[in-house]
């Protein structure tokens, strides 16, 4: 039950915050936020159960004669395993854009970015609920223990919701600028980079504390890139400035030469 409580908290805390962020990009078309979020919530269980799981269990494990426990995987297999989640998830998150009515809306670059944020956000919320379900099955002790023991889950999921949102925003921006494949590859690379620490931790190569180092560095790189991208988009996007001039000095001497 505790994991679900934290999934509820993630949803309640992240939704208004992302709403404020997305509002700036999609202008007055607010309905789109709820529509896209709703569309992508179910995509996380879809990609995990119907795509990633078969890739590992039916393709990779039999092909390389490996077991499901990451601690038993040889080092050379880690990069392969690392690429599965980014490659599949980043593709699945933009699936709603195959609908022509939605794709047509990607003409304006700022709007496309907002749509991407929303798609990724919905996926992130879906992932929080999917993991809450999965962890409740796997870790019943934690699921029924004190609530504060899962604050790590809360913090991580809260952050991941936004990270997913920004990955998909990069892809949607790329699609609107006719370089979707390049942006998809970039988002998948960022995704893989962020997963490096977790992958090394799961395979028993580093401790949980040490795993946070590559995570922090890659998050920093992602956010620097995102801020630069947002600045570029703002230059490209038409801004509706409504202002009233109350005073204007005539022949103002700026003091500059």
């Amino acid at each position: 039950m505790n994991f679900y409580v934290h999934a509820v908290l993630v949803t309640l805390l992240a939704t208004p915050l992302l709403w404020v962020i997305v509002k700036g990009w999609v202008k007055n078309q607010y309905a789109i936020f709820f529509l896209y979020t709703f569309l992508t919530i179910a995509l996380c269980p879809f990609v995990n159960l119907l795509i990633k799981k078969p890739i590992f269990t039916s393709l990779l494990f039999p092909a390389f004669a490996l077991e499901a426990d990451p601690k038993t995987w040889p080092f050379w297999f880690l990069p392969i395993a690392l690429l599965v989640a980014p490659a599949t998830e980043e593709a699945v998150k933009i699936l709603p854009l195959v609908l022509p009515t939605l794709r047509r809306k990607l003409v304006e670059v700022g709007y496309a970015y907002g749509v991407g944020l929303t798609l990724g956000f919905g996926f992130g919320i879906g992932e929080a609920w999917y993991l809450a379900w999965g962890f409740s099955q796997k870790m019943p002790d934690l699921a029924s223990g004190p609530l504060y023991e899962l604050t790590g889950f809360l913090g991580e999921r809260f952050l991941v919701v936004f990270v997913h949102a920004y990955f998909t925003a990069i892809v949607a921006h790329g699609i609107s600028q006719q370089h979707g494949l390049r942006s998809y590859a970039l988002a998948a690379c960022f995704h893989a980079l962020i997963n490096v620490g977790a992958m090394l931790y799961q395979s028993g190569l580093i401790s949980a504390t040490l795993a946070s180092v590559p995570l922090s560095i890659s998050l920093l790189i992602l956010f620097i890139y995102v801020f630069q991208l947002e600045r570029r988009i703002r230059v490209q996007s038409p801004v509706d400035v409504k202002e009233t001039v109350l005073f204007k000095r005539e022949n103002h001497n700026t003091g500059r030469r």
Binding site: G24, L147, F227, V239, T244, V245, L246
Partner: protein, 167 residues
């Protein structure tokens, strides 16, 4: 002659200024009342950041009513508690009333109804705020050096007095 103008009243500003320290104080209290035998390390992890933030937010709550705009002989002075920005009249190029565009990466003290210090806006860049509104209907004072955002309660009187001094 010096004239003081108060900023517009903002119920949201008061609400959030009171809500934030209440939540910061409430979190450790709630933790202690809901759970028995909370580990000391966890307690400190919660109390230290919430305690620091409580003090900061209580300070900003205390200085909120002191916000004012003073027109003296040579300058417009924006004050809030110990903080002040001085704008010489001869540096003012333009004054506009506008809606600012939110940017999540901004710094400064930015709550609904309470904006203080330099804040980054998506459409205008850095604006030094001393205002009881964060985004809507902000009076922007444009100088060569920077932009200032204010929200005087009585805009008509404020503008008339300011125009008189600028000339």
């Amino acid at each position: 002659m010096t004239i003081d103008f108060k900023p517009a009243f903002s119920s949201l500003g008061w609400l959030f200024s009171i809500l934030i320290p209440s939540v910061m104080i409430g979190i450790p209290v709630l933790l202690l009342s809901l759970e028995e035998n909370v580990p000391l390390a966890l307690l400190l992890t919660v109390i230290i950041p919430t305690g620091i933030f409580s003090i900061i937010s209580l300070f900003f709550l205390a200085i909120y009513p002191t916000m004012k705009y003073t027109l003296d002989e040579q300058h417009l002075v924006l004050r809030c508690g110990p903080f002040r920005s001085v704008i010489p009249y001869n540096e003012i190029k333009e004054i506009v009333k506008t809606n600012l565009r939110y940017h999540p990466t901004s710094s400064g003290w930015k709550l609904p109804g309470y904006a203080l210090f330099k804040i980054y806006y998506a459409d205008r860049g850095w604006v030094r705020m001393c205002a009881a509104r964060t985004l809507k209907d902000v009076m922007l004072i444009i100088t060569d050096r920077q932009l200032y955002g204010i929200t005087p309660a009585n805009e008509v009187e404020f503008l008339a007095a300011l125009r008189e001094r600028i000339r």
